[in-house]
């Protein structure tokens, strides 16, 4: 029995590492049938949580050191060699801090808010394909599930802002919810263009649809390399920055604007949970961007498919996270009205246009004269670039301010 168990564990680890199907079956066969679903669930969830927890710690360190180097300074480098143990120190600090709750705050809702944020965010990890046979939940409507749990996070932001009985928290929560709702629409519409072309809401099938190569195995069939895919990817990235409240869209938690907004009255472990949920949200949306646009766990060149699939997923995810950190170090914070104008007046029309162009790309796929691909690319790119320029110019034009009358106290 013990021998079977150990053998099962070894097979599980070996098969996961080498991209083979049915990794857990030998290990699960040791257990009675009634217990098997529970064990299977535990085996699926624990590496996910542990892995993303480790990635979270690494990303906080990477962010601080990366931002430091961008700003001509070193990041943290005292706690371990090159500051490797800094996340450990941060974690210890967060856990041992006193948990202060305002006297008039609504204690139950105040406690539930971080939990109500972390649970949907972790749920969102369930549908992403991390490797060839590494999907926690295979679902026909996986993308819809992802967006549904993403929408549930807004309620917790409200709970946090309301229960603190603090006008800054309330203002911050209102702005945060307005921002998240506004940017959900370009997010979803830009992913609808991918869903339309791939023909399925299941992330597994979307990744499989991107699994071929052109030009002798050198040009992957990823959607980001099509004009509508590139536009969709950029819109998706901007919206995902706004959804996870990262700079330049971090008005809800900006220290100089609203004293941390809806997080003002949180300290210690609850704040750590909010922080964790924000980073997990970034990973989840980054993972979805990788799945939808960057070909998931496929390698860019066919010859490199020998490298296991989860390595590619992690590499692409880390590339996206580095891009987010880079943007954070570069762009100043947007004001809340600029933010909302950008979402409704620019991103929404562009994403709808992207849908149309995706359809045109799909229906012109039947062209087969020589260099049809280039012609299609040029046509679709022009159809996106011209309205982009015109819309950008129209929105940037100087707005005439109304005549203002001032009454001075004399």
């Amino acid at each position: 029995m013990i021998g079977d168990l150990i053998h099962g564990i070894f097979l599980m680890i070996w098969r996961t590492l080498t991209d083979q199907p049915e990794a857990k079956s030998d290990f699960l066969a040791v257990f009675p049938t009634a217990v098997q679903p529970v064990v299977s669930a535990v085996l699926t969830v624990s590496p996910l949580l542990a892995g993303f927890g480790l990635l979270f710690a690494l990303t906080t360190l990477l962010e601080r050191k990366g931002l430091g180097r961008i700003q001509n300074r070193l990041g943290p480098n005292r706690v371990g060699p090159c500051g490797i143990l800094q996340p450990v120190a941060d974690g210890l600090k967060m856990i041992t801090k006193e948990d202060i709750i305002p006297r008039t705050a609504d204690r139950v809702v105040h406690l539930l808010a971080p939990i109500a944020l972390v649970v949907p965010t972790v749920l969102a990890f369930a549908v992403l394909p991390y490797g060839r046979y590494l999907v926690p939940m295979v679902n026909d409507a996986g993308i819809l599930f992802f967006f549904a749990v993403g929408a549930s996070t807004e309620l917790s932001v409200f709970m946090a802002g309301w229960s603190s009985r603090n006008k800054y928290s309330l203002l911050g929560a209102m702005r945060a919810i307005a921002q998240m709702i506004s940017y959900e629409i370009p997010l979803i519409i830009s992913s609808v263009s991918v869903i339309m072309i791939a023909g399925s809401l299941s992330p597994v099938e979307i990744v499989q649809a991107q699994g071929s190569w052109l030009a002798g195995g050198f040009v992957p069939h990823w959607y980001v390399l099509t004009p509508w895919g590139l536009t969709g990817f950029i819109i998706f990235l901007i919206s995902s920055l706004a959804e996870s409240n990262r700079s330049p869209f971090d008005i809800p938690e900006a220290e100089s604007e609203l004293i941390a907004g809806h997080l003002t009255e949180y300290s210690g472990f609850k704040y750590a949970l909010f922080f964790l949920a924000e980073y997990f949200g970034t990973f989840a949306i980054g993972g979805l961007a990788v799945t939808l646009f960057l070909g998931g766990w496929h390698a860019p060149i066919e010859a490199l498919e020998v490298i296991p699939s989860y390595v590619w997923f992690v590499l692409k995810l880390m590339a996206l996270v580095s891009l987010f950190i880079w943007i954070r170090g570069t762009v100043p914070r947007l004001r809340v009205d600029q933010l909302l104008n950008f979402a409704w007046k620019f991103l929404l029309p562009m994403s709808l246009l992207n849908l149309i162009v995706a359809g045109i790309w799909h229906f012109t796929a039947v062209w087969d004269f020589p260099c049809a691909l280039l012609v299609r690319w040029a046509l679709c790119a022009a159809m996106i670039a011209v309205p982009y320029t015109l819309l950008g110019r129209a929105l940037n034009a100087k707005r005439n301010a109304a005549h203002r009358t001032y009454r001075y106290a004399t």
Binding site: R69, I70, N72, I327, T330, V331, T389
Partner: protein, 212 residues
Amino acid sequence: MLGEGIIKGMAETAKNFLGSYHDPERMVTVQFPEERLPAKEAARSFPFLVFDGQDAEKGLRCVACQICEKECPPQCIYITKSKDKKPDYVGKAQFYPAVFDIDISVCMSCQICVEVCPFEAIKMDNDVELSNTDRFGGLLLNKQLLAKPNSHFHKIHPTEADEVDGRLAAEKAKVEAKAKADAEAKAKAAAAGAAGAPAPKPAPKPPTPPPA
């Protein structure tokens, strides 16, 4: 075009990021306890007492005139004059401070004590690593802690130290010249007095007033 500024900005930050690994201009961090920036000459933190030579007791310039104690705005200097005198840099016998305490938790580094000292005895130090575990007695610096050699003064404020040394040397030269002139006049008077006995006494000259 929309978005052009962001792309340019991202190129600039990328340059910063990559340059921070090899270009000293793009990595301006000085890791404090291991490396230090050189202090500027006019930097000042708290006062110290200057002594000439090697011995802090004998060469201390301070003569306990207590002008700095009276002029100090927060009154953080505590001086007790000694009972006896010791010779100063020109040889004249002066008092010296038996107790000279400065409370650096009160001192506001205004430099008034330096400005009013007629003996160039108290100058501004630039040491800032003065943390102490005792926040009452530990920040009351006494004479032993405050007395530092003139070479230290030269090291931290070279131009000022040179100027002070020049002034003190000029003073010393003047005093020595005056002493030499007095000695010569006295020797001449003694020689004239000794030579005046055998010769007939000349008509008594009205006493000339000494040169003012």
